[in-house]
Symmetry: C2
Subunit: 471 residues, 2 copies
């Protein structure tokens, strides 16, 4: 056999495996060395075979991780538009819409594309339950005593240790545990703002952030964010003199899934330090990266203690446990005092269960599997959407996390579409929820942390049909 024939032959074997489903979408290919041994060929031959498959968009490479089956690596659909910069004039809270979407949660028959939480099937529930039973027997007071307001020292130590991976340089003493990331953000805002102050957020943005800012009487500036790289640094610079605090998600923003490049993070922290503006960093998707390594949070570049790094286990382990944390920098004592006044302490049991889970490698193991499932799901969703949605649909390209942002034809109103979809037992998050302005009417956010199956596939197909009928 000639060399050309060899690599073509290997490529066609793998292509056949992809087509007949032996290798599934999002699945990792055997390593180059494994394929080399399997067919007794040279490494270069295998590389050429993989290049061939890549050129056909059947696989793609993830740096340092290897090759994955990906029929969508050559995207047909373009990225969503960048939102316009907007300050607080004429703003309006989409509270009724949010309430409506939340109410759909009660109906267990509905496919919950709307929620920002993983499906139960994606979580290690049995292992966590074992952890709870183990821990309730281990704690000599069964968790009935108050713990110090700063939170479980074991959990703080575990989070600090694990932050060393991305050069967080934190110690247990730098952290305060909270009732989830939302509680961390609420307390950060309460600590550094007063009513009438101005907060900068990215747009579109998680509706909870907008709502908590408004509930504290803050003016909101929505800064444009690129679907791939996040916050537009020039727009931010322009509005800086008016801003009292920033709240950004550098790693896998919600709903765009964007990831700020490292040099943007460095610039951002430098800029805000110079202007003495606190940055509340909502990093709750940070562990759900599709690349090879965990992206650093802005906190890693914070020298003066202006970054308040917020995280939680709600997106990765157990939303209902309500366990999160904040590394509040120079605002630490204020945050601890607020926690003491608001609730005295947080329940110890779940904090210890999670600390134990992390300490024994179970968290890492789970995250590894979870990330692979999410990446595969993301590709499945993108493929189904490219197949069944109108051709002028624009679609996000998340670098991590588990939400997908869609921009539909201008004539579509996703708030109206929501009612139609609910009649088909499908719930999604209409775009209007993610802004205080009169926009994103033709957008929607989909959660892809649901176990991929026929039902999900059929629901995406159905949703595409509903969209097609809407204009």
């Amino acid at each position: 056999m000639k060399k050309e024939v060899l690599y073509v032959k290997i490529a066609s074997i793998i292509e056949e495996q992809i087509v007949n489903g032996t290798l599934k979408l999002g699945e990792k290919l055997p390593s180059i060395r494994t394929v080399q041994k399997m067919y007794h060929v040279s490494i270069n031959t295998v590389k050429q075979a993989f290049l061939e498959l890549e050129s056909k968009s059947l696989i793609n490479s993830r740096p340092r991780l290897g090759y994955y089956v990906s029929k969508t690596s050559q995207r047909r659909f373009s990225l969503p538009s960048v939102g316009m910069l907007s300050s607080s004039d004429g703003e309006k809270q989409p509270e009724d819409l949010i309430d409506k979407v939340y109410n759909s949660l009660k109906n267990k028959e509905v496919t919950q594309f709307s929620l920002g939480v993983p499906a139960q099937s994606m979580l290690p529930i049995a292992k966590l339950n074992k952890g709870v039973i183990h821990m309730i027997r281990k704690l000599d007071d069964g968790g009935t005593s108050y713990e110090p307001a700063q939170g479980s020292v074991n959990l703080r130590r575990s989070v600090a240790k694990w932050s060393m991976e991305f050069e967080g340089q934190l110690t247990e003493d730098d952290l305060v545990t909270t009732s989830g990331a939302m509680n961390a953000i609420f307390n950060c805002l309460l600590a550094v703002t007063k009513p009438g102050d101005t907060i900068a957020i990215e747009t579109p943005v998680y509706f909870g952030t907008i709502q908590v800012a408004k509930s504290l009487g803050l003016q909101v500036i929505e800064i444009p964010a690129h679907p791939l790289t996040g916050i537009d640094m020039d727009a931010l610079r322009k509005y800086l003199p008016r801003i009292n605090v920033c709240c950004f998600t550098a790693n896998f923003s919600n709903p765009l899934g964007s990831l700020m490049p490292e040099d943007h993070k460095i610039q951002l922290v430098k800029l805000l330090t110079e202007h003495n503006i606190p940055l509340i960093e909502d990093d709750l998707y940070g562990n759900l990266y599709f690349g090879a390594t965990r992206p650093k949070p802005c906190k890693a570049y914070d020298e003066e203690g202006i970054v308040m790094w917020c995280g939680s286990f709600s997106k990765t382990l157990a939303p209902g446990y309500r366990v999160g944390w904040v590394a509040p920098g120079k605002f630490k004592s204020k945050i601890i005092r607020q926690k003491l006044l608001q609730t005295i302490s947080t329940p110890i049991l779940y904090q210890e269960v999670i600390a134990d889970f992390m300490e024994h490698g179970r968290y890492d193991h789970h995250l590894h599997q979870f990330r692979n499932k999410l990446y595969a799901n993301c590709l499945q969703y993108q493929q189904a959407i490219e197949e069944y949605f109108p051709d002028n649909t624009k679609i996000g390209q998340p670098q991590g996390g588990f939400v997908l942002w869609l921009e539909l034809d201008k004539r579509v109103d996703t708030a109206a579409l929501y009612d139609t979809a609910m009649r088909h037992q499908i719930s999604f998050a209409p775009g209007r929820m993610f802004t205080l302005q009169d926009r994103y009417h033709n957008c929607m956010r989909l959660n892809f942390a649901l176990g991929w199956n026929e039902r999900i596939y059929a629901d995406l197909k159905c949703l595409g049909k509903i969209v097609k009928n809407a204009f």
Copy 2:
């Protein structure tokens, strides 16, 4: 035997049993009918014997409950003084003192007279642990999902059912669960005030209430409270036009242990309803009554929804679980929204464990035993204090709860005394913590929810000695 001789004889037998410790302080005597049968005498003879013992202050009667051993029923020490009315001028937070006292909690060797929580030995920890293990297996998601922001429907139903005892007339829909009563109070204040508003509280008052009010930028008016009957209604009336919100503890205030008479409660609710002033009712000691029945909360008289009734299981079951509730009246939707924004939901597990505990009568059973222990402890403390403290000591007479307020000689500074006591491994709460004003320097609060033993007795004796040496 003549009748006189008979009753004297029976009285002296019982007296001997009290003196030699067969019947212990705080213990319930056999019923009149039991004694009658035991000695084959008439009911009147037994009654006369009991009267004889009561006249010697050896026993006292508790309405509808029976007779209890009580050497202190004839008090030698008088009640503490009533605090002066004061508004916000020149106020100062005792934060440093509070931090100091909180820091003593870390030292497990210290007798914690300072804390407002029951000792572990007073709590049904083994039963609760069993409940946790049972529930984690029962919940199909292991408690990993978000629950609706209003909180566990099972717990709300249990609290509502049980509030029928005191004619609460609440339904599960009227209640919102919280992270303990402190969190309920914080959220009530956040819902009904804005910075600069004025809050009326009783004086002396639990320091947490003062601190949370100040943290929200409120002006504080301290209304005089009588050690037995609580809030001085005339003083309250006088200041009413300046007041935006009240936060009172009608049942067993902390630190006085006072109980508002029913007609005061009725007047209070009527008055505040007329002026449309919300009442935050901190009722977290309400179940720990020493009388025959649970006193009604003000909420029982609330027709217009102005009373926000706050309670918790922190004082009776498990402080560390952080489970409480509020019946927020007409402010319900605001409270639910706030909870959603601050923390999305509260952990489900402990709420279900407590609901189950209530549903199966275990809570009632525990409360019954707990109240008897507390009543006995209260008598033991009072007796030890009358024995070892200076004669001019004034001492509260709690009608329930588990804190005791002492007023010492004017020359004593309990903040300074605290350091001396800590050198003897004894912690108490100095009076200055319970006000924003320059007063109560010569007062202290003692927690009597500690298992009564030789160590506690010796520590009270030691504390008495320290006080005697202080002037």
